[in-house]
């Protein structure tokens, strides 16, 4: 009984803290407690999805493969690049592409089966692993980006 009350308190406290924090989350250190939990959740789910959909080519450590497959270890955090990355995950990309000063010229297949949430989780994992720190990517952001893919 006592432990139940305690649990209820913690849940209440957690939701209060998460409600009070209202920043964008572009820097992980500024995140509220609730957002940090969400970021962790997305990262864990994203890691599984990454292994399933991305890791074979981009490698488990995100290092890519020679000049065939680009690395994902230091991606830009600007909104432009976030939009572009979201579109690339969903619709793939073909032809010349410069990543970190190296020109690639291959083909990445589309992943039309991925939902907005799944894309958000994958990008949250990639965007906060290795040298990356782009903060949480929400499914609402994915939805918006996908509506404006070129």
């Amino acid at each position: 009984m006592k432990s139940r009350k305690l649990l209820a308190c913690i849940v209440l406290l957690g939701s209060l803290v998460s409600c009070s924090g209202n920043n964008d989350g572009s820097r992980n250190s500024q995140l509220s407690f609730g957002q940090k939990i969400k970021l962790k959740q997305y990262k864990v789910q994203g890691e599984l999805l990454y292994a399933q959909h991305c890791g074979n080519c981009h490698q488990p450590d995100g290092s890519g493969l020679g000049k065939l497959i680009p690395p994902l270890t230091s991606i830009a955090s600007g909104q432009d690049n976030r939009n572009k990355t979201i579109c690339t995950i969903k619709y793939g990309v073909e032809g010349p592409l410069v990543v970190e000063g190296t020109q690639y010229d291959g083909k990445m297949p589309a992943n039309l089966q991925l939902t907005n949430l799944e894309i958000a989780e994958i990008l949250t994992f990639v965007g906060n692993s290795w040298d990356n720190s782009i903060g949480i990517v929400r499914s609402s952001e994915v939805e918006e980006s996908l509506a404006n893919c070129q």
């Binding site: 080519c57 000049k67 065939l68 497959i69």
Partner: protein, 220 residues
């Protein structure tokens, strides 16, 4: 009398120890894989049975430099063989990343070679393989990417290297193939099979290559 028994015992010990040593040495050798063939022959009045180990059959393919690659290319060499295709969306990039480790480790050792067969030869022509190997950043004298007759490639995969390689429309990319790396010795015998997608297994492979090279030195 006691002295004689003692000497006998001692001698027995020495023999036993020697035997133990030699048998443990042979256990150190890598196994010879594949089905052996027993061949009968007569020598005078005697009938003798020879055990012929499984070996890689004769082949002739073309690599990324348009050079013809046959068994003779790897004469006197230890080599690692695998099957892949350049447009492969599944395990190939993982295999190639791992094979790159083998390449880097033995780059300056001419006794070691690498042979990657495409199982999609109608798409993976010499030009595509050339571009692929260049973008991977490897020398063609060390790592041969070969293409050729589709049936020949599938057959050598299944019969010689004992791996799965074939077309399958239901598979992603249209082909099924194993992610195996095969270690072949200087006598065309297969001495090891490793999962080319797993880092730890490739570690074992690189160790085994060293062991094979030592074995070759001892036999000289």
């Amino acid at each position: 009398m006691i002295n004689k028994t003692l000497t006998g015992l001692l001698l027995g010990w020495v023999v036993l120890i020697c035997f133990a040593c030699s048998s443990s040495q042979s256990e150190d050798k890598l196994p010879i894989l594949g089905r052996q063939q027993i061949v009968e022959r007569t020598e005078g009045a005697q009938t003798l049975y020879d055990t012929i180990p499984h070996t890689v059959a004769d082949f002739s393919f073309v690599d990324q430099d348009s050079s013809i690659i046959t068994n003779e290319t790897f004469e006197g060499k230890v080599y690692v063989s695998d099957f892949f295709f350049t447009s492969c969306p599944t395990i190939c990039p993982l295999m190639k990343k791992q094979m790159l480790r083998v390449y880097d480790r033995f780059l300056n050792d001419d006794r070691v070679g690498i042979l990657s067969h495409t199982i999609d030869p109608s798409y993976d022509n010499v030009e595509i393989l050339k571009k692929y190997s260049e973008r991977l950043g490897v020398k063609s004298s060390k790592w041969h990417f070969v293409t050729g007759n589709e049936d020949d490639i599938f057959t050598i995969g299944e019969k010689s290297y004992m791996v799965t390689a074939g077309a399958d429309e239901s598979a992603p990319g249209g082909y099924i193939h194993s992610g195996a790396f095969l270690l072949v010795d200087t006598k065309k015998r297969i001495r090891g099979v490793y999962d080319g997608t797993i880092e730890e297994e490739v570690e074992v492979l690189m160790n085994d290559i060293e062991r094979l090279l030592k074995e070759g030195e001892n036999e000289k």
